[in-house]
Amino acid sequence: MTSLRILLRAIALLTAMAAGAMAGPFEEALPKFSADSYSDTEAAISAVAGSGHERALTVVEALRDGRLLAGAGQVYIREASNGMIDAATGEIVGGAGNLKPVRVNNRVRRAIEAALGNLTLLSSDTRTRFNAAQAVFRSRDASALPVLERAIAQESDLRVRGALESARAAVILNKPDAPAVEKKIAVEILSRRGDQDSLALLSNVSASSAPDLAKAASDAAEGIRTRLALWNALQNVWYGVSLGSVLLLAAIGLAITFGTMGVINMAHGEMVMIGAYTTFMVQEVIRLHAPGLFDASLFIALPLAFLTAGAVGVLVERCVIRFLYGRPLETLLATWGLSLILQQAVRTVFGPTNREVGTPGWMRGALEIGGLSLTYNRLAIVVFAFSVFAILLLVMRYTSLGLYVRAVTQNRRMAGSMGIRTNRIDALAFGLGSGVAGIAGVALSQIDNVSPNLGQGYIIDSFMVVVFGGVGNLWGTLIGAMTLGVANKMLEPYAGAVLGKIVLLITIIIFIQRRPRGLFALKGRAVEA
């Protein structure tokens, strides 16, 4: 903390010398915060940040956090303990009258960000310095240049140094009166950085400057464009895999109830919805009683969602579906009705509006690999989908339940004669499929609405995946989901979301015409059963 203060003093001295005046611009700027005008606030921020006053950082941070209060020309900061301090002096004050937080809009927020960047470039914390460099890179604020130079000179961390140099290059490229030599170096630095932002900066240069610089910049931009095109293709594949894993999750439960058992289960989507609402309930309880557990909420929700949806599934099988085996049309109608009943029941209990399911901290943000940007929530869902698939595969292959299910679906009467209680296996298998749909709901609550309509959006896609992949084959479901996901995402940039979907549907119709049993058709006597 003390070293931070010393550094701040250093900036203070530096900028004060640059300004050539020691009279308090900080004190003069402060009252502007109480004017309740965005332009005054913006002016005050840059004045405070440029004043070099030791309290400048505190004031700007308070403004960012909504803790800067103003009223009648006086400005105060609310402390965490709910006490008030005078923004100018840092002294604790008692009753301060009628105060309102200083309002911010996007313009002010940008000014805050730029000011914080300038103020924290010399911070002792590596991470803060890195963020400051990023902020300056975005703001391209020429007044940050002297501090930036100092920061580069004394930086030891390689990553931060790179960020600082990029920031400096961005500032210089944007500064009309910077010397041509420096601009050339800036172009080189940005060309090495080689991402979208650099491309934006470089393509802006080429229009209006000296011919040789313009050429260097446009060459660099061209190089970046070629490289990015490659990354772009990879990125599209990733989007496809990610969409495929969502499809896989939604469809994999159906692969058991429809694929293996042959029940046309139109209420499958509602099982997904039940899983999502279970997640919502779990998070509500956690919010009320144990806020510390919030990051683990999804893991707690997983078994509960499996059990809830599984129980509903067993109930549905026992009460409705077992009377309808072998009568596909009636099953279809009955489960369709059931899905409407479940939707309206949830609507009555939870209300028609969306419910908020929060994202745990570890699922926010994105992982950057080269030109690839993998958002953590999608990454988590991809990993999760493959794990669920693997577990289900193992259950079907190596457990007695899996064996019985396969036996019953291949030849019900034979399995019955061997002593398998086929009724019980039907109920359990249906429960398993529904339970898996439930845990899919936990994952989907992270990317979609938690509303009574949640399931409807997935039912068509799920059937499409299972039919395309081949009924009765888990591997087929996996391949089907991934193929459809990647194909969809490859088409989307060219055809648009609406047309892409249409093209895909037509392709599948034609495919099913040629191969009615899907990609991986079951062979042998099981097919005829």
Binding site: Y38, R103, N105, N106, R107, R109, R110, E113, R138, Q196, D197, L199, A200, L201, S203, N204, Q235, N236, Y239, S242, L243, V246, Q343, Q344, R347, G351, P352, T353, N354, R355, E356, G358, T359, R364, G365, A366, S373, T375, Y376, N377, R378, Q446, I447, D448, N449, V450, S451, P452, N453, Q456, G457, N488, K489, E492, P493, G496, A497, V498, K501
Partner: protein, 429 residues
């Protein structure tokens, strides 16, 4: 206005009246009543938005009855459920008018449902109050449009971004149906008239309920990095918004870099999203719950008491129903009858207070005057008004920026025509 300044005691009375309303209607039915139809989906995809409007209508009707009803008679609500099914809207509308003999209908949300009931209202000569912002290009004798026309929402929103945020590049993103398509057509024409070039406008449509926004958000990000300030104008509707905003947050598109201004996202929709990463994104409406006026405060208190839920939010279409209902009451009182022809003539020029502190007026083109508010999303899911028009903006039935509609005007008072061509001087385009 006295009806909005209610004491705590009358609130309790109102709440208990809500409990008894079931029995009350039966008692009232024995006497003569004026029936009011409520045509909002209570099931299906649109239930998410429309159920609230049914509740607000019930509250308004109950309140009017507390004040002694209308023309000495009690009002009676007739609620039907068109179940988000467009043809069913027409059927239910017919049932309300010819079977239940309602004096007026308050209802519809999507433009397609409005278009589906239009012929019914014309044929049976009844009155519909339509409370949702829509694409314009329409004016019917039997319909009163209390939501915003494009010039009361879309155009001022774009103006704000161009002026305040210095936006030069525009992404027009919408759901693929009539409202976004028409609105974007108007916006595109407007932007081009302001000198925006073709390559600085990107238009993107997605299906209803679109949930995988990865590619589109990445495209928007790329489009925004061309060195000019970029903004997204979103006419994305309903359920697709939540995944869209989640994806924006995940890919790190922040309001300070690429602001998104939405025309269909209000307090209700935000209630289902974690709004912390969305702070600073915008919405343009004619009302926000956060507007600080005595009328609005009283309305919010009444709403919370009526629904017995402290967390219920209010939104723009609800205000539109409040204005529409009060205008209808005033027109009926003025005409001394609920006869549709008399009410249609009497309602033009009627002024009632809106909840943002102004007086909204019913115009001869059957649209109303409204203030335009631009709000930024706050952490608590409410909006912080960052811009408000000085005066009320009159709604245009026909856009000035579209070929084929710029010469048209609607005037049901003197011209008795919904699409009068000022060039050919003829009614009927």
């Amino acid at each position: 206005m006295s009806m909005l300044k209610m004491t705590r005691r009358s609130l309790i009375a109102l709440a208990s009246a809500a409990l008894m309303s079931g029995t009350m209607t039966q008692v009232v039915q024995a006497q003569e009543t004026i029936k009011v139809g409520i045509l909002h989906s209570l099931s299906g995809t649109m239930a998410i938005s429309e159920t609230t409007l049914k509740d607000v209508m019930l509250m308004l009707i109950e309140e009017q009855n507390k004040k002694g009803g209308l023309l000495g008679k009690k009002l009676e609500a007739v609620v039907v459920d068109p179940a988000s099914d467009w043809p069913l809207f027409a059927e239910k509308a017919r049932q309300l008018i010819s079977q239940d003999k309602v004096a007026a209908v308050f209802g519809c949300w999507t433009s397609v449902s409005r278009k589906s009931v239009l012929p019914v209202f014309k044929e049976l000569n009844s009155i519909l109050f339509y409370p949702v912002q829509y694409e314009g290009e329409e004016s019917e004798r039997n319909v009163f449009y209390t939501g915003a026309a494009p010039n009361q929402q879309a155009i001022p929103a774009v103006d704000y971004l161009a002026k305040e945020e210095k936006v030069e590049r525009w992404v027009l993103a919408g759901t693929d149906y009539v409202y976004p398509r028409t609105t974007n057509k108007i916006l595109e024409a407007y932007l081009k008239s302001k000198g925006v070039k073709d390559e600085d406008i990107m238009i993107n449509y997605t299906p209803f309920g679109h949930s995988d926004w990865q590619t589109i958000v990445a495209d928007i990000k790329k489009f925004g990095l061309a060195g000019k300030k970029t903004a997204v104008v979103s006419t994305i509707n309903g359920d697709a918004n939540v995944p869209f905003y989640k994806e924006l947050a995940n890919q790190g598109v922040r309001a300070t870099d690429i602001p998104v201004i939405a025309f269909s996202v209000g307090e209700e929709e935000l209630a289902g999203i974690d709004t912390k990463p969305l702070v600073g994104h915008l919405a343009a409406w004619n009302y926000f719950q956060s507007v600080d006026t005595p009328d609005n405060k009283a309305f919010i208190d009444k709403w919370k008491a009526f629904t017995k839920n402290d967390k219920r939010v209010t939104n723009d279409p609800m205000e539109a129903h409040v204005i529409g209902f009060n205008m209808w009451v005033k027109a009926v009182e003025g005409a001394g009858t609920v006869d549709p022809d008399k009410v249609i003539d009497a309602i033009v020029g009627v002024k009632v207070p809106n909840l943002t502190g102004g007086m909204s007026e019913m115009l001869p083109n059957h649209h109303i005057t409204k203030p335009v508010l631009i709000g930024e999303i706050k952490e608590d899911g409410q909006f912080d008004t960052v811009s408000q028009t000085d005066s009320l903006v009159p709604g245009d039935a026909w856009s000035k920026y579209l070929e084929g509609s710029k010469d048209l005007i609607a005037d049901w008072k003197t011209l008795k025509c919904g699409n009068y061509n000022t060039v050919t001087k003829k009614c009927g385009a």
